[in-house]
C-alpha cells in the first residue's frame, strides 16, 4: 500500500491532474505505455489511495461563487474536546472549503467561498457565534491570479 511512486506513476498523475477525461489509449500513448499497462497502474493508484477520485473542475465565478475570503483565526481555548467541536462545527459549513492549523501568530486559517459579501457575512456569523475566538483577521480576495493548480510532482 505504501510503495513509492516511480517516474511513470508521476507522469500518469501529472497527466490526470491536467485532464482526466481522456481515453486510456490517448493517455497511455502520452506517457509511453500500452493501454493495458496503463490500466494496471491506474487501478493500483486508485486502490492504494493515491488517486482519491475524479472530479469536475468548475469555473468558480461562472458557478456563482464569486467571493473568496481567507480568515486567520486565533483561538482562546485549546483542549482536545474544544478542538473536536471546532472541527465539527466548521465541517458543517460547506462554504468553509479549507481549514489548516498553522504556525505563527494565528492558530487556524480558513478559506471561505461564497456568492457575495452577504453570504460571507452569514458564514462569518455562523463561524463565530458558537466558538470563543480571540481574534479573526479576514483578507478578501480582489483577484484570483492563480487558482488551485495541480499538485507539483
Amino acid at each position: 500500500m505504501a510503495e513509492k511512486l516511480d517516474e511513470m506513476d508521476r507522469r500518469i498523475l501529472r497527466a490526470l491532474q491536467i485532464e482526466s477525461s481522456r481515453s486510456q489509449r490517448a493517455l497511455a500513448e502520452d506517457v509511453g505505455l500500452s493501454q493495458n499497462a496503463l490500466w494496471r497502474r491506474l487501478k493500483a493508484l486508485e486502490t492504494s489511495g493515491v488517486i482519491k477520485g475524479y472530479t469536475a473542475r468548475l469555473d468558480r465565478e461562472a458557478a456563482g461563487a464569486s467571493l473568496v475570503v481567507f480568515s486567520m483565526v486565533k483561538t482562546r481555548r485549546h483542549s482536545a474536546d474544544w478542538l473536536r467541536s471546532f472541527r465539527a462545527h466548521l465541517e458543517s459549513i460547506p462554504e468553509v472549503v479549507s481549514l489548516y492549523r498553522i504556525s505563527g501568530d494565528f492558530d487556524y486559517m480558513l478559506k471561505i467561498v461564497t456568492h457575495d459579501i452577504a453570504g460571507f457575512d452569514r458564514v462569518y456569523q455562523r463561524v463565530t457565534e458558537k466558538l470563543e475566538l480571540e481574534a479573526v483577521t479576514s483578507y478578501f480576495a480582489m483577484e484570483a491570479m492563480i487558482e488551485d493548480r495541480p499538485i507539483p510532482l
Copy 2:
C-alpha cells in the same frame, strides 16, 4: 454563454464535484433525469465553460507533497509592468499553486505546496530573488483539517 444555472444544473455540478467518474446512467438517476437529458445538460455546461474539465483528486501526502505554506506578501512596487512580471514569475513556479491579490495589510497571498522544508526554501528563494518585496510572512500548515472541498452551489 451566460445563461443562469437552474437547480438541476446545480444538482449535476454538485454530484460531479463529488465524483465525476460515475456513468451517466447512475448520475442521471441520482439527479432525476434520463441519461439522454443529462448528456445534453453536460454538453451545455462543458461548452459554456462552467465545467472547465475533469481532474484526478490526489492524496497530497501520498503523492509526496507533504508541506503546505501560506505566504502573505507586501510589495514595494505597483506599476502595471511590474505586476505583469510578478505574475509571470510566479506562474513559472509550479509549487505556487494559488495566488490571490487581497485586501488588508498585505497585497498578495500565495499558497505553496512542496515536498519538504528544503523544497519550500528553494521556492522561497526563487520567489524573492527576482522581485522587490517589502515584506513576506509565511504560515506553515501543521495540519490540513479540511482541504479543497467542493465549491458550494
